[in-house]
């Protein structure tokens, strides 16, 4: 398995403030990788930097063999990399269907759109009933589903999810995570999952990184990390 995403010696942050200090991060093709850590550890900064929303101070980011360190955010969906931001950030005054259409913006062709829409509706049956509603009127769980579906519309090679479980009921969290697993297993989409909900994240992922104060302090297989008493004590309240 070759690397889908390779982050080398990345330093990033906001203005003068350094949040990520010399971070190395690798995701292999087809993997589900979780990045876990406490609030403020730098998880969102990592995703935003990879997605081109933030420009790194130094280091390099390679996606599917292409250097994307300086690629602007809007050019990445076309290359197959898409970020689902925290809270989903749907377009509230557009319908569910229009939101999905925007997800496919980077691929434009109308025929592609119809196919993708059909496929996505299969994956997310709940959205079929809601397709003509404003996205702002969806429930929290539906909103998260719609945000993931919108990302899938671009037919990505890799999806990055920023805290998809935030604000959802435990039942919805389970549904969202099983959907993520499904995307990876059946569609072959590589997934990077950033979570504070460590237990659930370790259950669906193959490997995990533990981020603490801007540095990776641990990484390994999710099963191994989940069984580690130190991790359990620090992050899972066990």
């Amino acid at each position: 398995m070759s690397a889908m995403l390779q982050v080398r010696d990345l330093v990033a942050g906001y203005g003068q403030a350094v949040v990520l200090e010399h971070v190395d991060f690798t995701v292999k093709r087809g993997e589900v990788v979780a990045v876990v850590g406490a609030n403020g550890a730098g998880k969102t900064t990592l995703l935003n930097t990879i997605a081109g929303v933030l420009q790194p101070f130094s280091g390099s980011i390679t996606f599917d063999g292409t250097d994307i360190t300086k690629t602007p955010a809007h050019a990445l969906p076309k290359q197959g990399l898409v970020l689902v931001p925290e809270g989903g950030r749907l377009f509230p005054f557009m319908t569910v269907e229009e939101n999905l259409e925007m997800g496919g913006f980077s691929r434009r062709k109308a025929s592609d759109f119809a196919d993708s829409l059909e496929e996505v509706m299969q994956l997310f049956p709940i959205l079929k009933q809601r397709r003509a509603q404003f996205a702002g009127h969806l429930s929290g769980g539906e909103r998260q589903m719609c945000a993931v579906a919108r990302a899938v519309m671009s037919r990505p090679k890799m999806i990055m999810l920023d805290e998809p479980s935030v604000g959802l009921s435990p039942k919805m969290v389970g549904e969202v995570f099983s959907l993520v697993e499904n995307l990876a297993r059946t569609k072959g989409i590589t997934v990077v999952l950033v979570e504070q909900n460590v237990q659930e994240a370790l259950e669906v992922s193959d490997r995990a990184y533990v981020l603490d104060h801007g540095r990776f302090v641990r990484n390994g297989s999710s099963a191994e990390l989940g069984g580690d008493p130190a991790i359990q004590a620090a992050y899972m309240g066990l």
Partner: protein, 296 residues
Amino acid sequence: MSSLLNIIVVGLLLGGIYGLVSMGLNLIFGVIRIVNFAQGELVMLGMYGAYVCYLFIGLDPYLSIFIVVPALFLFGVIMQRFILQPLQNEPMMQIFATFGLLLLLQNVVLAVTRGQGYTAPSKLSEFVISVGPLNISVVRLVALVAVTAAALFLSWFVKNTMAGKAIRAVTQDRRAARLMGINVELAFMLTFGAGAALAGLAGTLLAPIYTMSPQIGGNFIMAAFAVVVLGGLGSVWGAYIGGFIIGLIEAFAGYYLDPALKTAIWFLVFIGVLIVKPGGLFGIAGAEEVGLREQN
């Protein structure tokens, strides 16, 4: 009865003009979330553009649309790219920059024309449609038709084309739009260009009606601000209907009270609407707050 009808017709025709001037301001505000103080000066440039076309190649103002509108589009794109885009993370400075442009454009035109008033006559100016006691000036009617066409086109465009939907997406959440692969900077440039082009259209259509002066933009922009906020920020139909409301208010106030009070009365109605419906008459509830949300 006939005077009442006459006032309504005058008000509607005036409303068409105000709506036309407001359309571009509203588009720019709705999408880019900056108040373009120089919008009235873009209208003024459109008027002078029509005059220049008339002076040098003898074009009727209605034909000069095909030159002036693309020229203003280009001017808007350049203005956005080289003046506003470098200030993108400082919304306050962008507003000051548009104010600076207002002064610059006014004074450049003043220096070039030495303040002399011009008109760009059109063959159409001579025509008046008479329906019973009503006299409808054709050039004003054209402005009303144009604003209707512009509103229809814009609302069709943002609902039914991919580019239009992308512009709505940018309006609602810039960062999410970027993550969808939408080039937000390009969207801003084209939107600003389109807003300037609409000002150019307004200018050419007004050229046969008003005598030009470098400060004429100010006459329209006060009305346009009232129209845009009254109708609903960023709402195409809001600007359209808002134009008629302001036009009718002006016509009635001019007839029954005193023409000098027109601005005071616009703004009384305007404040009243803001107290009852802060989003404007046709604004989506809460849309005025989206503008204040962190956008990058």
